[in-house]
Amino acid sequence: MVYSYYPGCTLKTKAKDLDRYARASAAALGIELQELPDWQCCGGVYPMAKDEIATKLSSVRALLSAKEQGNDLVTMCSACHNVLKQVNHDMATDENIVTKVANYMKLDEPYRGETKVIHFLELLRDGVGFDELKKHVVKPLKGVKIAPYYGCLLLRPGKVMAFDDPENPAIMENFIKALGAEPVVYAMRNECCGGYATLEKKAIAEKKATAVMDNAAANGAQMMITACPLCLYNLTKNAQGGVPVKYFTEVLAEALGVKEEA
């Protein structure tokens, strides 16, 4: 299985663990992730304005590059995934944006959202299959109670992201089960950690992230997992509570027995 891969800026710097454990795990599962040449930062948040083109172009370039290679495009970071998927939706549905982008980029053929954007978790669920994943687990994480933290960006807006049921998701719980661990279901798993507000007013992120962690801890979580570097930051630096937080790729690499070599 060959896929184009968009790592995103943070995976090259503060979130190297999210990237390297993903690459080691993919290799162990026979998945080839081909990093896109010359990708640019997605901007971190989806530009909602209907009249903005420039802020969507870096995403379009990545989507177009994957189209040229004839591959589905795999993302790892929740934020990149949200931005690329929402921009791709614009390119498939908003003729005004399609035309302006084609004019701006001098495209012979307009880009119309042909590339399929899939998060690595979706690839594990739909491409590999959790039953198949389970067969590759050599070090099952027996007895570990793991709280999956979805946050906002993987799930919403549900109609565009189509990742899972936005109010009652199961993909990360099933992922945790496939690794032999026990998922902790808690109410705040899809509520906001405070996000970029940590730069505007740290108290906001402290309050939001603490509420999420408290809720996970109250339901017996020994560990939390996330796909988002900013969620991980807010939960480790801004939350009171002390539950360890890891990237989902780290527990995956551990269960697949490739963590040490990653």
């Binding site: 710097t13 971190g44 799930l155 919403r156 970029y196 940590t198 730069l199 505007e200 906001i204 900013l230």
Partner: protein, 128 residues
Amino acid sequence: MENTNLKERILEISGVNPRKCMKCGKCSGTCPNYDEMEYHPHQFVSMVEKGDIEPLMKAESLWTCLSCFACVERCPRSVEPAKLIEAVRLAVIRQQGANHLKPQDIPDKLDEDLPQQAIVSAFRKYTK
């Protein structure tokens, strides 16, 4: 005070039709940052509809909206209040000299673990 031009501009930027709103208040009820806003998501919808936009342009709420899409997801009428908040925020920061976050503010906010994602996201939201 009604400002028709500004209202038209906000509607155009956002692509939102506030008249779809049935005033159930679910957007504000589900907003995780309700306590940090003087104007709440449902008020953005009703005030934009009335053309009463100047107070929103001065509102602290523009900077405390987390863009978590909870109001977008949970609105039973698909009004998408977050897009209106974004449009008002843009109407402010697209003005000359009205950037809310300046590059020189960043060094004091850095710590060794802060992900780049936080910085690029904040610039997208607070600066043009």
